[in-house]
Symmetry: C2
Subunit: 158 residues, 2 copies
DNA sequence: CGTGAAATCACTTAACT
DNA sequence: AGTTAAGTGATTTCACG
């Protein structure tokens, strides 16, 4: 991926609703050239989608936590992500190296809701849990520095 | 926050570039009524912004990790977030309950880049670090279920 | 891959319930 | 807060270099 695509990705990471007109101005290309590149980046999966950044306090989910999980039966097939996918409180699921097998990021309304969620997680995936409660979030969702890296496409499209 | 605002927030959390026209269709309101509500939600800070969701593999940052940090000198003032803010590899910084004081989410190009980043973190914030490397991410950035919660605004605006 | 132009559609404001 | 209407500006497609 070269210079202009990187610039487009950076700009959209910082403002997902930036217009093609503004992207064109910032990149020095014509509007339709930018349009073409954005569609290509979307199709290649470099731009995976767009999301509003929400204030979770304002929508009644003020409690964030990281939940590390470990299988009760280490011999059982590890399908925890699928078993947990129906729980809307789980925002993210990362498979990790170390003591535990996954780290979940969860958002709930209250301590009681967290307690309830943990029970659901343990029951659904047959795991033990270790929970780290977030007290405050100095920053989050910072856009990456898109550097001039290899970035070979996995899907063969170009 | 009532029904329609919650619906708007939900829709924009799932597709941050959804047009006002589509939002109007989905909510049963006129385009300008939706427009008005979105602007109000932005000003109240419920909608904090918009971002493209990026494939970090494609932009040369394929290594994600969680870095927990603990002050070397527990008596020193705790300004780790500001001291670390200049490091672009840090996507998020959460203050947490438990053994450590913060959990950072970081994105880097390689194991060596991670090693280098950890040294920078330790030096900049005078902390020890404990790192959990992400092996894969079954899911991330899932939009919340915006439920009918209190959601009292903190800024007094209505 | 790029451009410019044309048609369509979305955004934004205003005047008015 | 909502509506419709009207003007402006953005998106999208197309023909072409």
């Amino acid at each position: 991926m070269e210079e202009i695509d990187r610039r487009i990705v950076t700009l959209l990471a910082r403002d997902g609703r930036m217009s093609f007109t503004d992207l064109a101005r910032e990149t020095g290309l014509s509007v339709s050239a930018v349009h073409q590149r954005v569609r290509r980046l979307e199709k290649r999966g470099v731009l995976r989608g767009y999301a509003a950044i929400i204030d979770h306090d304002a929508i009644g989910l003020p409690l964030t936590a990281f939940v590390s999980i470990k299988p009760i039966d280490p011999a059982a097939p590890d399908d925890a992500p699928e078993r947990l996918a129906h729980l809307a409180a789980i925002e993210a699921c990362h498979s990790v190296a170390g003591e535990e097998s996954y780290i979940l990021k969860v958002r709930v309304a209250s301590p009681v809701a967290l307690e309830d969620l943990l029970q659901q997680i343990r029951a659904a995936a047959n795991v033990s849990t270790r929970t780290t409660v977030v007290l405050s979030t100095p920053y989050e969702h910072r856009a990456p520095d898109v550097a001039p890296e290899p970035a070979s496409a996995q899907d063969g499209s170009v």
